[in-house]
Symmetry: D2
């Protein structure tokens, strides 16, 4: 179990959303309410894009310390502004607590975070790694399932169409599990960005997927809570995606339906479509 | 808030009490039930004495990682046996997460662990440090209230009579707080050892003290649970002191009353007396 | 032994001076040439001021990892620009490797770094801590001599006149050592900033002080090395202070004489005066 | 570059060989003399076997801190005795500093340490991982070349004949490199143990192999240095293998010739034979 959040909108001090929020992501590292586990203390990561586009690659800060106790995270959050960033808090399930297992994972301008797991991952790992583009193989530095999903999605076209690539990656994983007689279950919410857009996916092969929410339309939020000074500062461009809501205020958060992919573009534009894993012939993947 | 445990008895593999127990101390690092906070993930420490007495000083392993995720703790626990050891899991309240703030604290053959806090400690710190024996002053390496309490108790005779020294230390702290117009509250359970005995204290200046339990007489435990293979291996010498019980089995744990000091000697001997802070003239302490 | 550097000038990507330099500070963490020890691997710190002055307090990133292997330092350096920053690499001499012992130390807008040591510091620590303003006492979180020097300098007027305050602090330390019969030796280069100016001091009670260099006048550097593209980018406002030169190019670095305090203001202005510790009555210090 | 040491002999306090030695392994972490680099500060590991054989699996303590500054290593070394242990200090060349990249690597009762590297490892990694027994594939948790060599040797019979298995593993690596058009160079000293014997290998595909030394016969050492109290305590059973000698005393150390495998058995028995990589058909390895 993990939790994550992503912001796309006006340039904000990261602190405002990480620490100066009622039930923000750092608070969730100690007290998650909707996850399988309340504690997400096995490291964290923060990836942010600059405002000016001078450097298209995001900066990533990852640490094995729990987010709640990391002095550097407080420092950085209190001094760095960004119009687009993602934060992730980790609850390791079996794999070691090390920076190379912390999200977000990065490739060039791309960031990916994940909440969930692949069932029977240890049994699947070899076959999935074989399906990774050999040029990407040596870039896998850690031992999480997420990093392998990211490498598969990159192999299958993430940089052209991130949702389609994830549909292929998840399809390939399910097919690999099924054909190997393993438990077939991808449990996932994903967050992805290239510095211009945000993509979010909520999906489970079966059963209930991990929770995922998008912030509502700013105009609607303001109408519901006209006296909230925080909301007064929101602009129509601002959008948040979160594993679980930061507050209990009604009308502020909208649950993203299961089996759904969401695309958020600058200007507050949000598009939804269904997320359907695509079967691709395993051999061709493995042969690349 | 923190949690701790101490074992005095037959030589056991540390693993049995740290990991192979239903609701042991490592489990409590994620899911404490009786503490102010369920999570105690801000480092931990383990101090153990050898069996043979060849080295009277205990070995101490401390880490800033949460106990639940530290691979080395699992390793050491699975390979090291000891007839007398203490483990502590930390929930920092304000002070940094660093090894020098992890319990147990050691001085020569002595170990001390603490669950609780001194109210207004930052305001008291200077006056309390002045009351520490100047020879001990430079040995205070961290920034916790506990380390200062330990230094005070060492100043006030811990090595001759640990309970009396703690009564003087707590008395001095309460008096310092009172005379400075600060909130006067010592919240504490303490565990102390010199490699031969265990001492445990449960005390609060006012209100309810942190929880503390001693294991019951082994004969009684066995009579209550005749079919439990774990209890069958206990010897009459074995005693555990814990912040909170490892299991819900009736009759296995006995709550230590508030305002009480307990002494456990080899052979399972357990003695109880009341714990009463002693006022000592502050000037004399400060003048040393 | 430690090494440090400070930049005041045009806004630069920190990476340029930390990593993209021939014998920069990170390289010095593995291969210092002029220090007592070649290795400075006991943690590091980076403190930087923002460009716009929106946040006058500097951001500080400190880590116990060696600078050469810290992935986050590479990330941050490659993404953060600053017109004024200080970096420090640490070689611990006895005190623990923990973030609270890493430089720079900060108080409000002020940063301080130090290379050197106080002889017999453990024996002096109590008396020096007594001379610290009681309001500052609880802010001392680590166990280094440097943090105590900083607290003393703050007590003695750092925020009004940093060099004069350091002269008083060093005078007080020397006097305390002398009157206690201890070895009397302050070995120090200091770097200080408030976000507008840089101050640097090179001093030793006796013997040779640690090395310290300032970059030469930009015009002079360019005349000497007209074809160097790096120097072509320098502006007349740019000044560097370093424990040891980044390169062996002649004329680029000027050794700061022993017993000297240097003030650098925006615009490349550099002023020098002698640094003379001031004796102040110890009692008054202790009584504050 | 790394350095390692291994002890097989009488039960000793680990401290004696790690810290209480003139130019021991911890000193080498700061000041190696014979390596490519003087600093080996990117983590370390210690693996030791118990005396009694009650637990055949060794205990492993690994840390990302430099060996010279790790407080826990000092503690453990000062309290733990062992008749057979290995210590390794790491100088990372490109791969992350994380515990899963620290030596020794363990599988069941087996430990392996390595000094050296595989040229072009990133390019080879995928093909080598394919040659690993699929059942072992998910056990590779880190990203070093050494862990892959260990997995290959386990695949190729390490538990039956460690030297022969290493000859096959190195042969397979060289062949894979050659057939892929990569630089073909295995640079290695290896240390291996199963708790009863020690095996050591010194090999380089071409050029000079990393240094490796065995302690001389105890009788000979004593005759050369009759007044040395340390040597007086040695028993005829004691043998040390080290990357570089602990002292400059003549006659104490014997260089292991390049292309050599050494087997040390209890009783001080030392056997030498040449180490010759074996070509094995790559397909069969990959097909397992």
């Amino acid at each position: 179990m993990c939790r994550w959040m992503a912001w796309l909108g006006q340039q904000v001090l990261i602190d405002e959303l990480l620490f100066q929020t009622e039930h923000g992501i750092v608070d969730q590292s100690l007290h998650a309410r909707m996850g399988a586990e309340p504690t997400n203390g096995d490291g964290f990561g923060l990836g942010w894009y600059g405002a000016d586009g001078a450097r298209p690659e995001p900066c990533v800060y990852r640490s094995v310390a729990p987010a709640w106790s990391d002095a550097n995270l407080r420092e950085l959050a209190a001094h760095i502004e960004s119009p687009l960033f993602m934060a992730h808090i980790r609850a390791a399930i079996g794999s070691p607590v090390q920076e190379t297992n912390c999200h977000p994972f990065r490739h060039g301008r791309w960031l990916l975070v994940h909440n969930g797991y692949l069932a029977d991952f240890r049994a699947l790992r070899r076959d999935l790694m074989l399906a990774v583009d050999p040029a990407l193989f040596p870039l896998v530095e850690g031992s999480t399932d997420t990093e392998v999903v990211f490498a598969l999605a990159l192999t299958l076209g993430l940089q052209d169409d991130p949702i389609a690539a994830l549909e292929r990656a998840v399809g390939l994983i399910e097919q690999t599990a099924r054909s190997g007689g393993h438990e077939t279950l991808v449990q996932a919410t994903f967050g992805i960005s290239d510095g211009t857009c945000l993509w979010a996916v909520r999906y489970a092969t079966e059963g209930r997927a991990r929770s995922l929410f998008a912030s509502s339309d700013v105009a609607a939020i303001r109408q519901l809570h006209p006296d909230n000074p925080r909301f007064a500062r929101l602009s129509p461009d601002d959008r948040l995606i979160v594993s679980e809501p930061f507050s209990d205020l009604p009308g502020v958060w909208r649950e993203i339906p299961q089996g759904t992919a969401v695309t958020i573009r600058r200007g507050g534009v949000i598009e939804e479509r269904s997320f359907r894993p695509q079967s691709i012939p395993l051999a061709s993947g493995a042969a690349r």
